[in-house]
């Protein structure tokens, strides 16, 4: 922290020198990764990536430049490079805002960090991943392949802007993943479990232990061996929070990113309209109280602005898009602080943080017991795709047939598809439970971003891809 004070002072001096809008962001990332495959180390590596990203705004055009030269001269040259770039675009933008909408943050920001990641010995992390990789094979002779990985990123940022930001921010994130492949001699099936967090070691293991993670991955894979196939067509389904999170992030969340809205996403011009069941309230939250340690926590965005909780859909009504300083000015609304950059050499763009559907009033067991016929679907398996028109198709990691309110047998190779807003309009029960489930994932949009997503159990109608 002391080392960064001098850097912060020089950054302020350089930013103050220029009479244009400047965003200066120092971003240091220390990473550590260990992975094992089938009893062998695949990689054990660590690294540092640090530098300065500078954006300058002139006549509606951003000039961006980055450097690893953290001397005062280096900073001056980087601002000049960004300024020259911005000036090259002068007059080329027709639809521009006169002034960006900023809500600058000052101070030193820390997330809740119980047992900081950098205080846990490397040996302990290696042993953990070794156990994740080896234990499944000891549990069942059906396990033919394993792959385990731990990864951490400890970010430190200093953001100084010409509009008043002066902030230090420590942001540690980690994730743990295990995949297993099982075989009964005729068929192979896949199981997967993962979790991720912002904070320390205790935040990472806040919900599950490593033993529970192993049991879960092995159970998922073995349950599917010999399972029946689902019946294709429109069905009533009960979605586990892991799929609710996928729906919230992939199928809805991307369509409400304001840059995407401006390009013509399906929700353009639909603010104030009913887009989902009254039971649905969907938010994007930078620091959720609903469950501590979510992987997408963001205390200040990468334009140096305050991050705020956004109600995207409130009781079925489309309420807000996700904004940065430019789109909030263009839409004449508050800046929500969704501008994020993955590394110092990436430019901040609009990204989600922790996107979730708020819990309702139904007991999850009651949701299943009150379902006469349908499927219970859990986890994202085999990838998927969501479109600008909110059409989606996702693979499902594990599924069960529901008959007369009971889970009767597992089914496999299920896909779900539909239009996300139609699906949310069909919701008739929302659970009173809650879980973040996408913490190990990275969202991709030109550059990665650590996000989280989740929700409660909910019941709705979707199209199921099956064999019958």
């Amino acid at each position: 922290m002391e080392d960064t004070e001098e850097l912060r002072r020089i950054m302020k001096e350089v930013v103050d020198f220029f009479d244009v809008l400047v965003q200066m962001r120092y971003h240091s990332r220390k990473t550590f990764k260990v992975s094992f495959i089938n009893g062998k180390v695949k990689s054990i590596d660590s690294g540092t990536l640090a530098g300065l990203g500078v954006r300058v705004w002139v006549d509606g055009i951003w000039g961006f430049s980055s450097t690893t030269d953290l001397s005062k001269d280096g900073m001056f040259n980087t601002v000049k490079s960004a300024l020259n770039a911005a000036k090259l675009g002068k007059g080329l933008k027709e639809e521009r805002v006169r002034e960006l909408r900023n809500s600058p943050v000052t101070g030193d920001l820390f997330v809740e960090e119980n047992k900081p990641l950098d205080s846990v010995p490397i040996e302990e992390k290696i042993e953990l991943v070794k156990k994740l990789d080896s234990q499944p094979r000891k549990m069942s002779d059906k396990v033919v392949s394993t792959n385990a990985m731990y990864m951490e990123m400890i970010d430190e940022k200093i953001i100084v802007t010409s509009y008043g930001t002066d902030v230090y921010y420590r942001d540690p994130k980690s994730d743990l993943r295990l995949s297993v492949v099982v075989s009964n001699g005729n068929e192979m099936e896949f199981g997967y479990s993962s979790f991720g967090a912002t904070g320390g070691w205790k935040e990472l293991f806040r919900r599950y232990s490593s033993d529970e993670m192993i049991e879960e991955a092995v159970r998922i894979a073995i349950d599917k061996l010999g399972a029946k196939y689902a019946e294709g067509g429109d069905h009533t389904v009960v979605l586990h929070p892991s799929l609710v999170g996928v729906l919230a992030h992939e199928a809805i969340g991307h369509t409400v990113e304001a840059d995407f809205v401006l390009s013509g996403s399906i929700v353009k011009g639909k603010l104030g309209e009913k887009v989902a069941s009254d039971l649905i309230t969907l938010v994007d939250d930078p620091n959720p109280n609903i469950e501590k340690g979510a992987a997408g926590i963001l205390l200040v965005d990468d334009e140096g602005n305050e991050t705020t909780k956004v109600t995207i859909i409130g009781n079925g009504i489309l309420k807000s898009y996700l904004h940065d300083s430019e789109t909030s000015a263009l839409f004449n609304v508050e800046n929500t602080g969704n501008a994020r950059a993955f590394t110092y050499s990436d430019e901040p763009i609009i990204r989600m943080r922790n996107t979730y559907i708020m819990p309702g009033e139904s007991d999850p067991e009651e949701i299943i017991s009150s379902t006469k016929s349908g499927y219970y679907l859990k986890g994202l398996g085999g990838g998927g795709q969501a479109d600008a028109n909110a059409e989606f198709m996702f693979g499902v990691l594990e599924a069960w047939k529901i008959e007369n309110g009971k889970l009767v047998h597992p089914v496999r190779e299920v896909t779900i598809s539909g239009q996300a807003f139609d699906v949310l309009s069909s919701v008739d029960m929302v659970g009173n439970d809650f879980m973040f489930t996408l913490g190990a994932g990275y969202c991709g949009k030109f550059q990665p971003a650590k996000v989280d997503a989740g929700g409660p159990h909910l019941r709705c109608r979707v199209k199921i891809g099956g064999r019958k």
């Binding site: 590596d45 660590s46 540092t48 990536l49 951003w62 490397i122 600008a388 030109f446």
Partner: protein, 255 residues
């Protein structure tokens, strides 16, 4: 400051330290990436970007155990070597771990075009502008979500204690267009076209062709109807067939 020159000086010092350390298997990989990038959003220019990035990765194999560490800070290269050594000590044995021995190496021809060294940001911008103007000239219903053109000049160097020392220069022009077609309430599928070239001579032609393909692709899915559940014969394109096989193979390959 010439960051590459500074990094190379530090690496020279490190090589001497590695030789003195008596370690038999250490590898240094150095990369410089200089790029100019123009980025467009919602049919308009958003960002111009130029960067010169340098990074170093160090791999240590000791007693059949491997450690790897990296940095982009020239002042940290000695520390990175120590970290890689420490990780190798903590790692697990793998009898197949080794470093490549020096052998006659034929460098790949045609991946470096020195004319890209002369591309400045202004020229990159002109090409980018042309790229984003074409789709809307083809059909006014095309809405560009984003588009990017990046010209990269890259230099890679690898050195190891077994005597291997190689360097390579590469150039690429990488571009993509993403977006959809919009007409009244109808929105097409979100789609993209991306292409890349290692030489500058056919870049104009490639950009024009890709921009037209993109426009026609998003227009063709405008007004498409949702498909009911269906089981029966379908006609698969070559690219879709390839993707299906890749998906089917992927878990087996990964595991």
């Amino acid at each position: 400051m010439d960051i590459m020159k500074f990094m190379k000086e530090k690496i020279d010092g490190l090589k001497a330290k590695i030789v003195r350390s008596g370690l038999k298997k250490v590898e240094i990989f150095l990369q410089r990436r200089n790029f100019k990038r123009v980025f467009f959003e919602k049919n308009e220019l958003k960002t111009l970007n130029q960067d010169d990035l340098v990074g170093v990765g160090i791999r240590v194999v000791e007693n059949n155990r491997q450690g790897f560490s990296f940095t982009n800070d020239p002042n940290e290269v000695f520390e990175v070597f120590d970290r890689a050594k420490e990780l190798a000590r903590l790692s697990e044995e793998d009898e197949y771990l080794d470093l490549p021995e020096p052998k006659e190496c034929v460098l790949v021809e045609g991946i470096y075009d020195d004319r890209f060294e002369e591309f400045d940001l202004e020229r990159t911008l002109m090409l980018g502008k042309k790229m984003v103007e074409i789709p809307r000239r083809v059909d006014g219903r095309v809405s560009l979500d984003s588009a990017e053109l990046t010209i990269t000049v890259m230099e890679n160097l690898v050195w190891n204690t077994l005597g291997l020392e190689l360097s390579e220069r590469k150039t690429t022009a990488l571009f993509f267009l993403m977006g959809m077609a919009v007409e009244d309430d109808k929105v097409s599928s979100f789609d993209y076209v991306a292409d890349a070239s290692v030489e500058s001579s056919d870049l104009d032609e490639r950009i024009e062709k890709s921009a037209r393909v993109f426009a026609n692709r998003v227009i063709s899915s405008l007004g498409a109807k949702s498909c009911p559940s269906y089981k029966g014969k379908v006609l698969l394109s070559f690219s879709l067939t390839l993707k299906m096989f890749r998906k089917a193979e992927a878990p087996g390959l990964v595991n």
